[in-house]
């Protein structure tokens, strides 16, 4: 099983899906000849030609709008937003059109569309290149929002997203692209959308998180293990709709729950996770549900010190874990 980076696993998933199904195609800004600004579509233009790897104008609403039309017509578009920050002009297409297509047409039409977008901070991207946008779309029935945390999951989930019959937003943490490496099978496997994954078993506290924070939480958990504190880590993988069963089970297991996200705290995915736990787990809770998240300020700053203050890291998670373990 080859070791590969998170971004190479994503490229491989698209390549395999395009080889498997001639209806799959890619469109976005600079995805063609350049292979994308992060090189996620590297090699696809050479292999599949410009008819299936489309360079588009700088117009996100058009990228998603075109993709919706193609999807309704029977194609399987993968639309790339160069940065998740730039998805805003396409919100109307995603929320009002793609998400509601099946419902509005009484099942006559549907929209098997994937929108890929790099998100998240910690790369000196500042205001326009660091945002977490998942919470903006969560709460829109008809959408699925997927955020993988490992190269293995990235490949399996992207393939599942391409094959899904309805629109999927696929957010990739840009700092994870080349930071995370892991074994990725060469065969055609799928990681199911809508299923969380226990990334580490533990009996003292439960950490529920997603994306790059899973990686940070695993590092922090290793440090706690040397002091005999065992941490259960659940990776949501799909942040909308949430895997309620897995969340409830993990919360009940230890009764002490820490929820971690890089997004601004208030109104984040973790707010919803906390609500699910408080609705279902009151008599299994041993401590208040805790959220560790970015501060409620408008954006990730550019100054390195301030970016570090905003950004999640293993030290912050370790500190919160120890506080909760000691409660």
């Amino acid at each position: 099983m080859p070791m590969m980076s998170y971004i190479d696993a994503i490229t491989l998933a698209m390549k395999e899906e395009m080889e498997r199904d001639p209806n799959v195609f890619v469109l976005g800004e600079d995805v063609g000849h350049k292979g994308g600004v992060f090189k996620a579509t590297k090699g696809l233009h050479e292999q599949f030609g410009e008819a299936r790897v489309l360079d588009t104008p700088l117009a996100e609403s058009a990228i998603v709008g075109v993709a919706i039309g193609a999807a309704m017509y029977g194609k399987r578009p993968i639309a790339e937003m160069q940065f998740a920050d730039f998805i805003m002009p396409a919100v109307n297409q995603i929320v009002s059109e793609a998400a509601k297509m099946r419902y509005r047409s009484n099942n006559d039409w549907h929209c098997p569309l994937v929108v890929r977008a790099p998100f998240g901070g910690g790369v000196h991207g500042a205001l326009y290149h660091s945002q977490s946008v998942e919470a903006l779309f969560a709460g829109t029935p008809g959408l699925k929002i997927v955020i993988p945390s490992t190269p293995y999951d990235a490949k399996g989930l992207l393939k599942a997203a391409v094959r899904d019959e309805d629109p999927v937003l696929f957010f990739e943490h840009k700092r994870a692209y080349r930071l995370l490496k892991g074994n990725v099978p060469e065969d055609d496997y799928i990681v199911p959308i809508g299923k969380a994954d226990v990334k580490r078993e533990g009996s003292d506290i439960t950490v529920i998180t997603y994306g790059l924070c899973v990686h940070f939480a695993m590092q922090a958990a290793d440090r706690l293990a040397s002091d005999g504190i065992e941490v259960e880590i659940v990776d949501l993988r799909t942040v909308y709709p949430l895997d309620k069963e897995a969340i409830i089970e993990a919360a009940k297991k230890t009764g002490k729950v820490l929820l971690v996200t890089e997004d601004n705290k208030e109104g984040s995915i973790m707010s919803e996770v906390a609500a699910i736990i408080s609705e279902h787990c009151l008599f299994d809770l041993d401590a208040p549900i805790r959220r560790l998240a970015g501060p409620d300020v408008p954006a990730m700053p550019y100054a390195p010190t301030m970016e570090k203050f905003f950004m999640m890291n293993p030290d912050k998670i370790e500190h919160a874990m120890r506080e909760l373990a000691a409660f």
Binding site: F38, K39, V123, H124, G125, H129, K174, R175, Y177, R178, L179, S203, D204, R223, D227, G228, I229, T254, G255, K256, L282, F283, D284, L285, D286, A287, P304, K308, N313, P314, D315, K316, E318, H319, R322, A325, A326, F327
Partner: protein, 427 residues
């Protein structure tokens, strides 16, 4: 001597490969001059020197993949101490001071105004735990879910591993000076003034104490022991035990065979399966065998209901289920109640003779002692190595006399000595 580290060479870049060293060890280098070429996923870049001086050691070699922030070489600036260069805006995060508050929570006594979490309240109610007896290890002595789990598993309140805090000792001293003051309640292991250890009596220990005292106080005990030859049983078990373990996943012990024989004998002598009720003796229809199971610090007596209905294999399974439940602390009240006769496997401790205290309000308890090979005369002047054990029985002399008791033991002895593979098969 100063260190040069791998710089951050663009967004999302976390490492770089040393492509070529431009400045060799011993060569002069000026600040900002390129010293090496580095290849990343995105770009080929030159690493500038942060200092003027003489190139020291190339710590990273050509071809090495170096994470951002790791040292690649040293520069001798003519100054003594080694310092990190600081050209890299994004240093790997240093552990924060706060993360050093790593102390594993110390056990503390819960305050009198203790607040309990929902899960602690629920578990305490479900398992009948007196929270006043439990020592908390959480913040400010809060009782945590794990503290309760430990109590459920161990059967006793957790005792603090640390000596009592000085303040508590002061309170004890004060209490001792005024003779009328009530004895302070001991809630955890404490050393007294003489250096003796005071161990608090757990609820389980108290229950055992009360039951034993009541039994010995109320029941006139009489005792009897009988030596029996179990060579045939030993041979059979040795024959089948490996296959049994493979098939069932747990070890076949001797105990289920003894329980089988006892249950059969109880059917033949039902008076041993009874209870003294003052005006009447209640002779039980059902044979529910209590089994004494010891943990490190307590004794539990779960019950095999309708033991006479089971085969030896069935009994072995029931036994395994119950002992596992005791070990894991998952017994239910239902599993602990309704016993009509007790079998105690004292042989497990290596005992050869013992006087059991009857499990009140039953009429008798039988102790199965350890099996040992001994020289035994099997006919006149012929010695043989035989596997022997003792059956010891304690009886309620209000209900039972020596005669019936002897007959009962004789029957158990008969069943085991004339061990019949067909009758007691575990296949």
């Amino acid at each position: 001597m100063k260190n040069i580290t791998m710089p951050q060479l663009g967004e999302s870049v976390t490492e770089g490969t040393i492509e070529r060293w431009i400045v060799q060890p011993g060569e002069r280098v000026e600040k900002y001059d390129p010293i090496a070429e580095v290849q990343t996923d995105k770009v080929m870049a030159e690493v500038p020197s942060s200092f003027s001086g003489i190139m020291g050691e190339h710590i990273a070699q050509v071809g090495d993949v170096v994470p951002v922030g790791d040292v690649i070489c040293t520069i001798d600036t003519g100054e003594g101490t080694t310092e990190e260069s600081a050209p890299v805006p994004q240093q790997t995060p240093k552990p924060q001071e706060q993360s050093k508050q790593t102390a594993v929570p110390q056990a503390k006594k819960a305050g009198s105004h203790a607040r309990y979490s929902p899960v602690v309240m629920r578990l305490a109610a479900e398992h009948n735990i007196d929270l006043q007896q439990v020592v908390g290890t959480g913040a400010s002595g809060r009782i945590t879910r794990n503290d309760i789990k430990r109590v459920i598993e161990d059967g006793i309140p957790v005792s603090a591993p640390t000596p009592a805090p000085a303040r508590a000792e002061a309170v004890v001293e004060q209490a001792q000076t005024t003779t009328s003051a009530p004895q302070k309640k001991i809630t955890k292991e404490t050393l007294d003034d003489n250096g003796d250890t005071l161990i608090p009596v757990s609820s389980v220990r108290r229950a055992i104490a009360e039951k034993m005292t009541r039994s010995l106080h109320e029941i006139p005990h009489a005792w009897m022991a009988m030596e029996i030859d179990v060579t045939n049983l030993v041979k059979y078990r040795n024959e089948v035990k490996d296959a049994f373990y493979e098939r069932e996943g747990f070890k076949l012990t001797y105990l289920p065979f003894f329980i089988e024989a006892v249950a059969k004998a109880l059917k033949k002598f039902p008076l041993l399966n009874s209870t003294w009720e003052g005006d009447v003796i209640r002779q039980h229809k059902d044979v529910h065998i209590s089994i004494a199971v010891a943990t490190d610090d307590a004794l539990y007596v779960p019950v095999i209901k309708h033991a006479d209905d089971y085969s030896v294999r069935g009994l072995a399974k029931q036994l395994n289920r119950l002992t596992t439940a005791v070990r894991e602390g998952t017994m239910t009240m239902e599993q602990m109640q309704g016993g009509t006769f007790t079998v105690n496997n004292t042989g497990a401790f290596g005992s050869t003779l013992s006087k059991g205290i009857i499990n009140h309000p039953q009429a008798a308890i039988i102790q199965i002692e350890s099996i040992n090979q001994k020289p035994v005369f099997i006919e006149e002047n012929v010695l043989a190595g035989r596997y022997m054990t003792n059956l010891c029985i304690s009886i309620d002399h209000r209900i039972l006399d020596g005669l019936i008791c002897g007959k009962f033991l004789q029957h158990v002895k008969f069943l085991l000595e004339n061990f019949d593979k067909q009758q007691m098969s575990v296949d």
